[in-house]
Subunit: 329 residues, 2 copies
């Protein structure tokens, strides 16, 4: 624990967290001491965001802070875990960039506040801008949403809308800088679906967050569960403004293959679907049916073309066409 | 959780850890699920090691892997925590450096094995070589060794020997490459004092690991505890080979100011000293008395000179000379 980070943490959290936040000894000692909830599993994950790789270096500093935390919290959401704590490894190019850092911290801290996540440690090093965020959350042992629970007959559904991450990136690369544009907002300020993950405990049989692209992440679920899927691609909910920005064909490509959406893809037994949809509606979030889990491995309803994997989208589906070997993982 | 890291983790731990390692769901899902021990505090810390800053880029890959984990585990040792789990954020310059990575993993994994630490997650990004390691350990609430418990009359003592980190770095910079040299071994393969931390539970009133240099870290304890210290600098245990390599004066400078020793500096009530020393002796480790905790803030026994802080060392001490403002923090 570096002293420079103690200052930063104080900047982030002027009021030291206490036992109500599960923190029995805060930043400033060799370790932080946390009080996990008895009987719960501790869900942990780490994601590192690198400038120029995972986000544009010229993105607004507040968005960089928000996004670095959001992509890690999205993994907690996908487990149905409640967010509790995080640690940050910050690599900064220069020591004297106060205004940038203040904005960065504001974006990070605002998402901490909004999600009930407490920053409990970190360090600062010098180098190319990169932010590693370790997140810790809690979930009852029997209620964790894994990738391995999908069963034939389950409905496949996604929260929110797809393609916004890829669409926003495309707009950014074209020079669009209006942060109020819905696609840029989706790309720069992704919303981890923590509330949805909690609401789907006991209802969904499997879940994953859509970070690599819907088909790739669906492939992970199918592989983990030993099943296949029939997709209804025309049912994919498209992010607001996506068709206007990219055109219909590219919009659907973005929804199928684009990454960085951070929605949840879930498998839900039909008997639970209405309840699941109702709970998410109460939270202002759509849950859209996009297919079914089937016995036979692979994905039906889309066509595989060429060596790059899933290339072309056929709105009508092609049941006999495109199941990739091994379930599109 | 990136799929590339799943492969790496499998490389590291070919046998998936199970519930005996407190892992109820291993790497390969959105999060890993851990089973913390009921009634214990979870001690967490993160440290990032950057090539060219925290270690020489040309250091042996196995040493880089070992060292990156060791510096984080040292923080658990200083809390008296038992090491349980770790996550790694690895930034690698190139994707195809297989032999380097195999050695790196061997060094990291060997220290995991030796300390009972299970790698439970991580990610890999491309960029300048850097390794961020988040560690998690456990300690009973009342037995954590903080920086804030030192009381006047306590003995100040250090485990092992000092100056080896700075001495080893000096040798490396002079071109010494014999890894069997005791100072290079100290610098490249620091040993986190986890067993000492466990043995000192219930005996030490305060502890810190010597990462920034003895005086700097002593300052942290004094500040945390609201006390001062009288040092007996001639009592400092010097690392094997240090005087021969650096000469007497620089050796003592290295012991006082050098960083990267990763020994424990502890405050121990006199009534517990013999027991503490006996327990460490059973583990093959010396515990050397180097001073006393006193009421009056500051550090006596060494002389402060110039603006850079603690500069010069006087073997005979200078009780009236050098208490810095605010306790040498």
């Amino acid at each position: 624990m570096h002293s420079e980070f103690e200052l930063i943490t104080r900047y982030f959290t002027p009021d030291p967290p206490g036992l109500d936040a599960g923190v029995s000894l805060g930043v400033g000692d060799d370790c932080t001491l946390l009080a996990p909830t008895a009987g719960q599993r501790l869900a942990v994950s780490v994601d590192t965001s690198v400038a120029g790789v995972h986000f544009p270096e010229a993105a607004p500093a507040a968005a960089i802070g928000h996004r670095a935390l959001a992509v890690s919290l999205s993994d907690l959401a996908a487990m149905g875990a409640r967010a509790r704590w995080c640690l940050m490894s910050l690599t900064l190019p220069a020591a004297d960039d106060g205004p940038w850092f203040a904005e960065f911290a504001r974006g990070f801290h605002a998402l901490c506040d909004a999600t009930g996540t407490t920053l409990v440690g970190g360090d600062v090093t010098r180098g190319e801008l990169a932010i590693g965020v370790t997140v810790m959350g809690e979930v009852p042992p029997e209620q964790a949403l894994t990738r391995g629970g999908a069963r034939p007959g389950d409905v496949l559904a996604v929260t929110g809308a797809l393609g916004g991450g890829a669409g926003g990136l495309a707009l950014w690369q074209r020079g669009e800088r209006d942060l109020a544009h819905p696609l840029l907002a989706r790309y720069l300020h992704p919303q981890p679906r923590l509330a949805a993950g909690l609401a789907l405990r006991g209802l969904a049989s499997a879940a994953i967050d859509v970070s690599d692209g819907l088909l790739a992440d669906l492939g992970h679920v199918l592989e983990g569960s030993g099943v296949g899927a029939e997709l209804t691609p025309e049912a994919l909910p498209l992010a607001e403004g996506l068709v206007a920005a990219l055109g219909e064909a590219s919009a659907r490509e973005a929804a199928l293959h684009g990454g960085d959406d951070y929605e949840l893809l879930v498998a839900v037994p039909p008997a639970h679907l209405a309840t699941a949809r109702g709970r998410l509606a109460e939270r202002g979030l759509a849950l859209t049916e996009i297919g079914r889990v089937v016995d036979t491995p692979g994905i039906r309803g889309v066509v595989l073309a060429g060596e790059r994997g899933w290339q072309h989208f056929q709105p009508g589906g092609a049941p006999s066409g495109g199941a990739p070997p091994g379930g599109a993982s």
